[in-house]
């Protein structure tokens, strides 16, 4: 036994040495006609075990292990279409090329919407509401290909501005000269009968769908605009049935701008116009051993490319919008030792992933990467291109084991602080058995290019902050977190530090008319593009507890007329009031200060936010 251990240790040592000497980590085996993959939850980033993976057009299946990973070997060459199924999630789909080296599929599943009953002999509008508005499907009577009258309809909305990794397949108009498609709004429509079989429309029949335009895109797509729509065909692995939809007001609520279009096949469906304004980007993919050949790089919105022996690839993207880049590489019969070396081991596999979200590149290396107008030239021409001077770097490494959660606070005029924990997410998305996560590499940067690396406050604390780095009110900050410290960014997120907030027309000890007072305040960052802050204001009469003694405001306006919580609202009762004003930015939204994850990645999630409390003041309100 001792001998065996010694031999293994020696082999590990030799392999590690080999890796260091010849950058041999990149020469680890990558078996042909093999597809490996990682399946996560789009909402939490957690790896999903027990997902059934089916190869379309064959009987081949696999199931994700407790790390959310799977591998399919000895596949026929060519395009491989994969279906992913897990109870409680909308159907997922992925594609990969079965080629001379193993390829990776990284799929995120979305929790399905609420089930709704439907009798298909009736005309009916069914919808699933989100913050963006109602996602609706409008059925004509007897249009479904079934005699079952007890159907269940599930509409799963997807906002591509936040969840584009859950979209199946490539959003590309392919063929002779591929063109990226820019995702606007999507949903998955499942109609199930009593036997849990998927039901579709009768041949020659259609339904109408309405998909809200995400708030972030409403300035680009106006009422009356036409947007091309597609349905995903799992059989071909392509987006098909290209028809034109129109931006109109929702027929459900009469206000939300929605993309309204006809649908012929229930599956994933949505709008994505062809990208007209394109650029060619030079990317450089590396791991800890150096440049990485054969890495698959995907850009959204954009195309797909494979790196050459120098780790370089040219990839076409949409110009003028933030683009997300993902690079993957799979090694077979290999594992990673504690030193990060790739070690031969039959049956093992390593999935390297690197993500770069252009929006989060502020101040980081690569922000000013080289790009040229128009689509990238064809492959034969690419090899003749001179090397650009500043390629976009994408560092890849194995996706983190376990699950990390980060809470980051930007204190205006103070510090940036991050608490990082590692554990196992429970059904609510919270971490069970959470422990502080040490050894992370966390970089903070502001929108002027200033960066700093956060240090762990005390070994084992999982608390990180940056020395000599003061958070300036009104600046936008981005965190890039390499949670396991292996060289690749596992999660990132951005938020504005709240500006300097102060009362404009109230002062401590002042006296004001209860009936005519409109409280106003200023925020030094209010004019910043994209600045989105919630203000919380309380008027509480000292010693009072009735409905006429309290006024409350939560919203993004910078003025407020305090009114009692009566119906109809009336001026507050006369008296002495304590008035508080707080400002929140980042992970907070809505009238109830809902907290949403704005640090996202594979194997991690979290929130970055900023809070600015203004010192409470005492004022007197006089009777009307």
């Amino acid at each position: 036994m001792k001998k065996t251990l010694g031999l293994v240790a020696l082999m590990g040592f030799l392999a590690a040495c080999g890796g260091e000497n010849n950058s041999g980590g990149n020469t680890a085996p990558s078996a042909p006609n093999t597809v490996a993959g990682l399946v996560t939850d789009i909402g939490s980033g957690v790896r999903l075990a027990g997902v059934t993976v089916r190869v379309v057009g064959s009987s081949r299946t696999a199931t994700t292990d407790n790390r959310g990973e799977f591998i399919l070997q000895n596949l026929p060459a060519g395009l491989v279409k994969l279906d992913f199924e897990k109870a409680g999630y909308a159907p997922g789909h992925g594609i990969a090329e079965s080629t001379s080296s193993a390829q990776t599929v990284v799929v995120a599943l979305k929790k399905e919407g609420t089930e709704q009953g439907y009798d298909p002999t009736q005309a009916r509008t069914l919808f699933q509401r989100t913050e963006a508005g109602p996602y609706a499907v409008i059925f004509q009577p007897n249009s479904l290909d079934t005699t079952d009258t007890n159907l269940r309809v599930v509409v799963t909305p997807l906002d591509p501005t936040k969840e584009d990794t859950a979209l199946p397949g490539d959003l590309v108009a392919g063929g002779a000269s591929p063109t990226p498609l820019a995702p606007v709004t999507f949903a998955e429509f499942s109609i199930l009968d009593s036997q849990n079989r998927r039901i579709n429309l009768k041949p020659g029949f259609s339904a109408t769908v309405e998909l809200p335009i995400p708030p972030e895109l409403r300035s680009r797509y106006r009422i009356g605009d036409k947007i091309h729509c597609y349905a995903y065909n799992p059989q071909t692995g392509r987006w098909e049935d290209f028809v034109e939809g129109t931006v109109e007001r929702s027929s459900v609520d009469g206000t939300t701008p929605v993309l309204r279009a006809s649908i012929r096949h229930f599956s994933w469906y949505g709008g994505a116009p062809a990208v007209q304004d394109q650029e060619c980007v030079d990317v450089y993919v590396s791991n800890r051993f150096g440049p990485l050949e054969g890495a698959v790089v995907t850009a959204r919105p954009g195309l797909r490319a494979v790196t050459n022996r120098n780790g370089r690839a040219f990839i076409t993207i949409e110009k003028g919008v933030p683009v997300n880049f993902t690079a993957t590489k799979t090694y077979t019969d290999t594992f990673v030792d504690n030193n990060g070396n790739l070690i031969p081991k039959p049956g093992a596999k390593v999935i390297d992933i690197g993500k770069v979200y252009e929006e989060d590149l502020i101040g980081l290396d690569g922000k000013n990467y080289s790009r040229t107008p128009g689509p990238c030239p064809g492959a034969s021409v690419q090899s003749l291109r001179p090397a650009a001077t500043n390629p976009l770097p994408i560092r890849v490494a194995p996706a983190p084991e376990g699950f990390f959660q980060a809470i980051a606070l930007l204190q205006p005029g103070g510090v940036a602080f991050v608490q990082l924990e590692k554990g196992i997410p429970n059904a609510d998305g919270d971490l069970d058995n959470a422990e502080p996560a040490s050894g992370a590499q966390i970089i903070i940067s502001d929108n002027t290019g200033k960066t700093a690396t956060l240090s762990e406050l005390a070994p084992g604390s999982g608390a990180y902050f940056a020395n000599n780095f003061t958070v300036e009110p009104g600046k936008r900050y981005t965190l890039n977190i390499d949670a396991d410290g292996n060289g690749s960014v596992d999660g990132s997120g951005s938020a504005f530090a709240v500006g300097n907030v102060a009362w404009s027309n109230l002062s401590n000890g002042g006296s004001y008319s209860a009936s005519s007072l409109t409280a106003t305040w200023s925020d030094s960052a209010a004019a910043q593009p994209g600045y989105n802050v919630l203000y919380q204001v309380y008027f509480q009469r000292n010693g009072g507890s009735g409905v006429s003694d309290l006024a409350f405001y939560m919203g993004s306006e910078r003025s407020f007329q305090p009114r009692a919580q009566t119906n109809p609202p009336t001026p507050l009762a006369a008296g002495t009031y304590t008035v508080t004003l707080n400002a929140f930015s980042g992970a907070f939204s809505g009238g109830d200060l809902d907290i949403t994850d704005n640090i996202t990645g594979v194997g991690m999630q979290g929130q970055i936010y900023s809070v600015q409390p203004v010192n409470p003041i005492t004022i007197t309100l006089t009777a009307p």
Partner: protein, 368 residues
């Protein structure tokens, strides 16, 4: 004597053989890339891209075979492509450049940049240029006048029908057609003799009826009208009538003025149609990835899925005949675009040539 015999033999052979496929190119409008692809079917590949303008869709070949007119749905224009040089020689606006937006506000940039002097909105609204990329009244349908000196263009927005004089390149007449019920978009126009046929549809998606309206070619006075499906996509002119594809269904309807429409069944999603022989029409059925060979006399149709070597080719839109009339070139317009070489006799796909995804129409031109 020998020379005479030889010439005679050559003459016999020439007469007894089927007409040979003259050297030709296939032109395909590629909506996603603002181009027309020039495809050499012999090489089986695209040999040239001609940038024509935003969202090129329908195309029509001049009777002398020397010009192709391409409707630019996104640029409110028609591009004239010279078949010999395979280049755009002119562009024509199909409607005036507007001074104001729909909400009444002034479009100052149109004044600052003298947009009114342009002959296509693509001059400014192009990739990297002014936003939005897609502008205008959305011309879609196209037909020649009886003397082939003018083009009739139908528009989606406001149901406009316009007439372009090909010599001057100017719009000489434009009318917003009165709606028929809720049908107010002029989805297509064709000419049958001295009559125009316009398909008016409601704003999509809709389940309400559309209308097929007959107009006098000269004065555009209505002559007849009949209802059809909710989404008529294409009007195929015949000798006496017009065949309309009801895209929302699995039917084609034959319209003749003064007669009740006659309905034919094909497979779901009929879009383009092509006359392939006496009384025979090839229907391109977008949603069923199939074509139907329809005999207008018997009403019978044969349906054929578009497949080759286990691959299904999706979303066929339009087709054109090879010069020897044996083959139909079919556009498969999914995101993986293909030009299918379809043998009409055996009714099967012989070859699939890669083209851009989201392609639309096709014409065959001689190599001049």
């Amino acid at each position: 004597m020998r020379v005479g015999m030889l010439l005679g033999l050559i003459g016999l052979v020439a007469c007894s053989s089927p007409p040979s496929a003259r050297p030709h190119y296939v032109l395909v409008s590629q909506a996603g890339s603002s181009t027309v692809a020039v495809i050499d079917p012999t090489q089986g590949k695209t040999i040239q891209h001609i940038t024509v303008g935003g969202l090129p869709h329908r195309m029509i070949l001049s009777p002398d075979g020397r010009k192709v007119y391409v409707v630019l749905v996104g640029s409110q224009a028609v591009a004239e492509v010279d078949v010999r040089s395979l280049a755009v020689t002119r562009t024509f606006l199909t409607a005036p450049v507007p001074e104001r937006r729909a909400d009444g506000t002034l479009i100052q940039a149109h004044f600052d940049q003298d947009a009114f002097a342009q002959t296509t909105c693509f001059a400014c609204h192009n990739p990297g240029g002014a936003k939005p990329f897609i502008v205008g009244e959305r011309p879609v349908g196209i037909a020649f006048s009886s003397d082939f000196g003018r083009l009739f263009i139908s528009h989606i927005r406001q149901g406009q029908l316009s007439e372009i004089d090909l010599e001057s390149g100017k719009v000489v007449r434009a009318v917003n057609l009165p709606p028929s019920g809720s049908a107010n978009e002029a989805a297509d126009v064709a000419r049958v003799g001295s009559k125009l046929v316009v398909a008016l549809r409601p704003r999509q998606p809709s389940t309400e009826a559309s209308a097929v309206r007959w107009l006098d070619e000269q004065n555009w006075q209505p002559l007849a009208e009949a209802p059809t499906g909710s989404d008529p996509a294409f009007v195929l002119p015949l000798e006496e009538g017009a065949l309309v594809s009801n895209f929302e269904s699995n039917t084609l309807s034959l319209h003749v003025p003064g007669a009740a429409p006659q309905r034919f069944t094909v497979t779901p999603g009929p879009l383009g149609m092509l006359r392939v022989g006496e009384g025979q029409v090839l229907s391109l059925n977008y949603y069923s990835n199939a074509v139907s060979l329809l005999d207008l006399k018997t009403g019978q149709s044969e349906n054929h899925r578009l497949e080759l070597a286990g691959t299904t080719f999706v979303n066929p839109t339009h087709a054109a005949l090879s010069p020897d009339r044996r083959l139909a070139y079919i556009v498969s317009s999914g995101t993986e675009g293909r030009l299918l070489v379809f043998d009409l006799k055996s009714a099967r796909v012989l070859r699939a040539i890669p083209i851009d995804g989201l392609s639309f129409d096709v014409v065959v031109v001689e190599r001049l």
